[in-house]
């Protein structure tokens, strides 16, 4: 039998009659989309019908749940820096996207989501699978729009891509009624959008503030840099490094910023926040100038605000004007894309070294090693710790892998200890803390960065939230390493119950299926270990397996993540135990 090479339709000439669905897909091709995560249904069938002809340009990954689809698109966007694309049908398909939209909004992830909607004449009649998707998604999207007429599609899609990826990125959603998907119209081509008059993605850079910031930095005795995901979103890793190396300032990261500067850069002093490192938290309340770059002073980072960095002059570089002064009062606001503002600042600052000041961080680090880290990474206890698993993983990957984490104790441990040589290598649900994120996000991350090893680090709780996406792995044949750190508990909640609720372990005891059997059912090889002597070899087996592999590591049940800034406490009240 002859196999026919499928040819994607070329971009049609002006005035060609196209359906709304065809126009939409041509738009995706022009925007450079290569992968779509989705799930079909009645109200989006015309788009899926058109997709059948676009197979070689637009790879569609059939997920097992729309939440999985949107998390996969997030993982794709985070590993590749491109816009993630999701398709879902009306009603339940669309409502299943809500968690991912909220997650993407708070973590500034660019997404374009397409939902099918009932015919326009049925809107508001409680038609089958009708939900007010625009109403439901308004608070969780950067922008959303309902299309009821096919002729609007090219312009709306172009706007959607522009909004999703420019300025502070975020998720946008287009809800398309079925009649608009079917309607034929004279296609006038597809022009990407680069300007919307009511939308200013980048505030204008004000040189006088950069000069003031430079003056403060030049006078500072104990300056301290905090960075967040903004450095990566702005693709400003090089500019950031150049600024740091010229000024010699110690720098710490939020979990969303991890990896923008390699873990073992001498000025990288570690992680901020509730489970961050000892030095960075304490020094926040000792520095004289605090330079925040592309981060938003989340409460998990700042702890108690009225005792946060009160002694410091604060310089805040951010692209989103609404972030300036939102949580922490700024002395000098530097509005703008840090890709543009950092080089300007670097020009004006003096070359310095803050050797003594940097050494103070290292003193704190030593205390933390003695009190926490050594025992976590090289335990003397019989049972395995999460930290030692990550430590051994580091040894084997040499910091080259993308680590995708779920939410809980394992997330904090993985973020604290994972060695990251490259940017866009730590993918985690930071702002929303969405359990179930990791497995689908890892699938998406691998599609976004096919040449890199992707390891999903997941708890026994989170694994069971989106376990169905093993089916997506099976069908797509994608290579994702799944590392389950099983402590037989909803560990993070249990830790809080232990510390703040007199050990009343209320519904945190969670059982697990036989993950190896489950994986096997999906055609994915797996292994479970509970002995230290097998750890390195099992990790090696996982990493060297040609395709996906699931490795479950039974770890000690009741470990706590330390250090910890208890809720309501100041960062300088960080506890080592």
């Amino acid at each position: 039998m002859l196999t026919q090479e499928k040819q994607a339709p070329a971009l049609p000439e002006t005035d060609t009659q196209l359906s709304g669905s065809q126009a939409l897909l041509h738009g995706f091709v022009v925007e450079g989309v290569d992968t779509i995560f989705g799930y079909p249904g009645g109200a989006i069938m015309p788009i899926y019908d058109a997709l059948y002809d676009f197979e070689c340009d637009l790879k569609h990954i059939l997920v097992r749940h729309e939440q999985g689809g949107i998390h996969a698109a997030q993982g794709y966007a985070r590993s590749s820096g491109k816009v993630g694309v999701v398709f879902a049908t009306s009603g339940p398909g669309a409502t299943n996207l809500v968690t991912g939209l909220a997650d993407a909004l708070i973590d500034s992830t660019p997404l374009v989501c397409i939902t099918g909607q009932v015919f326009a004449h049925l809107l508001g009649t409680d038609a089958f699978q009708e939900a007010d998707v625009i109403g439901i998604t308004t608070p969780v999207t950067k922008w959303n729009y309902q299309v009821t007429d096919a002729t609007e599609i090219p312009e709306v899609l172009a706007k959607a891509f522009h909004i999703a990826r420019s300025g502070r990125p975020g998720p946008v959603l287009i809800d398309i009624t079925k009649n608009a998907q079917l309607q034929k119209f004279a296609f006038q081509g597809y022009t990407p959008c680069d300007h919307i008059r009511s939308y200013r993605p980048k505030p204008i850079v004000r040189k006088e503030y950069i000069r003031q910031a430079a003056e403060l930095i030049n006078k500072a005795k104990k300056p301290f840099v905090l960075w967040g995901q903004g450095v990566m979103l702005g693709s400003a890793e090089q500019e950031f490094k150049a600024f740091l190396e010229k000024t010699g300032i110690p720098a710490a990261w939020t979990i969303m910023g991890a990896g923008a500067l390699p873990t073992d850069h001498p000025q990288n002093v570690g992680m901020l926040g509730m489970h961050g490192n000892y030095g960075p938290n304490v020094m926040t309340n000792e520095c004289d100038v605090l330079i925040a770059i592309g981060m938003r002073f989340d409460d998990r980072v700042t702890g108690r605000l009225d005792k946060y960095a009160k002694q410091a002059q604060v310089i805040h570089l951010d692209i989103d004007p609404a972030e300036i002064d939102k949580n922490v009062k700024t002395t000098v606001p530097v509005w703008g894309d840090c890709k543009e503002t950092l080089p300007l600042l670097t020009q004006m600052v003096e070359t310095k070294q803050h050797t003594e000041w940097l050494a103070k961080f290292r003193e704190f680090e030593q205390k933390e090693i003695d009190a926490v880290i050594r025992e976590e990474l090289f335990p003397t206890s019989e049972e395995m710790t999460m930290g030692e698993v990550i430590q051994q993983l580091n040894e084997l990957t040499k910091g080259e892998a993308i680590i995708v984490t779920d939410v809980g104790q394992h997330q904090m441990v993985a973020c604290r200890y994972a060695k990251l040589n490259h940017t866009r290598s730590n993918i985690t649900s930071g702002g929303l803390g969405t359990m179930g994120f990791a497995l689908p996000a890892a699938i998406g991350a691998k599609f976004g960065a096919p040449n890199r090893t992707v390891v999903a680090v997941i708890g026994d709780g989170g694994m069971q939230m989106t376990i169905q996406e093993l089916g997506t792995i099976m069908q797509s044949g994608i290579d994702v390493k799944i590392l389950i750190l099983n402590n037989q508990f909803l560990g993070m909640v249990r830790q809080w119950q232990e510390l703040f609720h007199e050990r009343r372990y209320s519904f945190v005891d969670i059982t697990s299926p036989d993950y190896v059997q489950v994986a096997k059912g999906y055609g994915i090889p797996g292994r479970s270990i509970n002995q230290r002597e097998n750890l390195v070899e099992a990790l090696q087996q996982m990493l060297s397996n040609p395709g996906s592999f699931l490795l479950e590591v039974m770890v000690t049940k009741e470990n706590n993540v330390f250090p910890m800034v208890p809720q309501g406490c100041s960062v300088s009240e960080i506890r080592l135990k």
Binding site: I134, G135, T138, P139, K142, W143, N144, Y145, Q146, I163, D194, H195, I196, R197, S198, Y199, R200, P203, I204, R206, Y209, Q212, E215, L216, D320, P321, A322, I324, D325, K326, K329, T331, V332, P333, W335
Partner: protein
Amino acid sequence: MSEQAPIERQEYNITVYTENQIGLLNRIAMIFSRRKMNIESLNTSPSEIEGIHRFNIVIHETEEVVSKIARQIEKQVEVLKVYFNTNEDVIWQEMALYKVPTDIVAEKAKVERLLRENGARVVVIRKDYTVFETTGHREETDNLIKILQPFGLIEFVRSARIAIIKDSDGFNRKLREFERAEPGHDVVENEFLNSREKVFTM
């Protein structure tokens, strides 16, 4: 820090210039409801420019809160510009309608006089009822309720507030800036930044 934000809450008039877009009202309202903040008054209307809408929103809050809210509103894609002003900085009016039984008004010369003194104007007179209208500040429209209550006020309604900013020269020039792909500094002209100039000195 030299800056001293007043902590007292007072009425602020938020003026929002927007595109005309379905759902934008909802998006803006959610910025308040999400923070469990009450909107005292909300009016949408055309503006001095065709196709550009103007929201007038009144809230009772501190300056700090209002400035944060203003920036959250301005962040919305279809919002062009947000201003916020105290009552002293704006000319504002609210309109009220009062329905009273016609026989009482006709009989009592006192009512006539009170209405006249309060600047009320007759909108309709029917055999059974008469509708009056006043336009003014809250106290003025409130005052007339008290006056008319003893005379059998049947219905009362007051409109949202509309406000004109005293020292604004309108939005035309600004809009032209917005339409340019590379706008000048005018676009970022902002209460926050302007006050900064005074705040920070080395």
